[in-house]
Amino acid sequence: MNHPADALDLLTRPAHPDGLPSRLQIDRLEAGELSPAEARSLRAAIDATPHGHTHLAQRRDDAARLAALLPKEAFINAVMARATEAPEAKAPAYGLLTRLMEALRRFVSTVGGPQLAALGAMAALLLIALPRIIEPGRGLTPKGAHSHAAPTMEILRLQGAEVKAMSSGTIAHRGDQLQVLIRPGGRAFVMVVNLDDRGVFTPYYATDDGQSLPIGDGPQALLPWAIDLDAFTGRERIIALLSDEALIEEDVEAAAQEWVADHHGADPLPMETLDLIPYLDPDGDIDGLTQLTFDVVKEARP
């Protein structure tokens, strides 16, 4: 193994030595989830491998370690306490104008002088262009809206000194900067996420602790900071989830992954059918939950 290339080739070797059953199978065995026949077969496989029993011993070590760090009673109390905690619904800490100014300040301090043209575009967006390009009735039809006014989502593209409203399905490129404008229709929270046709989930707008953003009570809100598109090429769906209570980002991601799992092997995924609400809230328990979607086709720059 004298050459780095030889060592790198090790990556192609199986990670699974000696035919040892996976840890999942061993954990299922220990949890009593296997049928008697499966258990017998697995025990035979463990016995036949040099490290099988060491593996089982390691599992016992893990149990002892966990018990030493967090005894059963303490674990039970901690888990029950956490399970009864309601996710904190934060009140808006500050207004839209303050958020926008903060976004501008962050933008300037982050990217500095060379990007002043883009800064000019943002200023134009705020002061001149926005009132002209945002007209009532534009945006996409929501799914799941009932008792609230119909919300809408606009995606704005910043190009040099220009700001343009995009249409769903528009072609975009790496480095394009997008800004999201939401009319919440009376809902208190929004979370914006992205799923691409490989099934990769990306949160765009959520709090640092992974919850929906409080959106305030104004008629519309330009979400803070711009989205820089990456080099991925293919179809992506931007999804805004509006609701009366804060959503948990992990739950939204789990819903997206369930949808991906329901499309076994589809590559690319049929993004036009993506609807998270049946996965996120199958029983209709989340008040005001509404989904807005916007499709982007990412292409390499010519």
Binding site: A7, L8, L10, L24, R59, I76, M80, D230, K298
Partner: protein
């Protein structure tokens, strides 16, 4: 079906706690973070209530949830770090900064080679998309076959293989460009060593 009570949580702790804790520790590389994540995984199980108890294999469900939860935490850590550094990172997946391999945690984590191996894989996870991360975790941390991974993540076996090839390709390029290739090579040697599974 009655709600989860102290008795049923205690039963879950005994049946599944060690496996969930080990997985969280492997992925996060830190015992305290793993303890916190383990509790949250069981909170999720409680909140799913009958859905969880109706699973044919609760272990499989807990594997999936613990993987997602821990990978989210790794990603959030990177996101917070990027914000603190004033970096506006890519938001569409990919392009993430690699995390330096860090040997954190201590007792019960296995041999030095196993710790190094996990640290290496953990650092490489930052280079790939979410789905490839999941596949890599199941392959390198759990020793699953392609078929088991395919069932776990809802992909075809060829797609799982492609994801792993993608992971290895990114690793090769990353390590090939590393200023100190010998470190990468030394860590990679762990791939050939059965002790990567924590056995000596």
């Amino acid at each position: 079906m009655p709600p989860f009570d102290a008795h049923s949580i205690g039963h879950l702790y005994e049946a599944h706690g060690p496996a969930v804790f080990r997985r969280c520790r492997d992925i996060l590389g830190d015992e305290q973070a793993a303890l916190d994540a383990t509790q949250d995984v069981f909170v999720k199980a409680m909140r799913h209530g009958e859905g969880f108890r109706g699973e044919a294999s609760p272990t499989t469900w807990l594997y999936r949830v613990s993987t997602n939860l821990c990978l989210n935490r790794l990603r959030d850590q990177r996101g917070r770090r990027a914000k603190l550094e004033g970096v506006r990172g890519d938001v569409g997946g990919g392009g993430a900064q690699a995390v330096k391999p860090g040997l954190t945690g201590s007792g019960g984590m296995g041999t030095a080679a196993a710790i190094e191996h996990r640290a290496l894989v953990r650092s490489l996870l930052a280079l790939v998309d979410d789905q490839t991360r999941q596949v890599a975790v199941y392959y390198y941390f759990d020793g699953m076959t392609h078929e088991e991974i395919a069932t776990m993540v809802g992909l075809s076996r060829p797609t799982v293989r492609k994801r792993l090839e993608h992971f290895k390709d990114r690793a090769r390029r990353h390590l090939g460009l590393s200023a100190d290739a010998s470190v990468g090579v030394a860590l990679l040697l762990a791939f050939a060593d059965p002790s990567i599974w924590g056995v000596s």
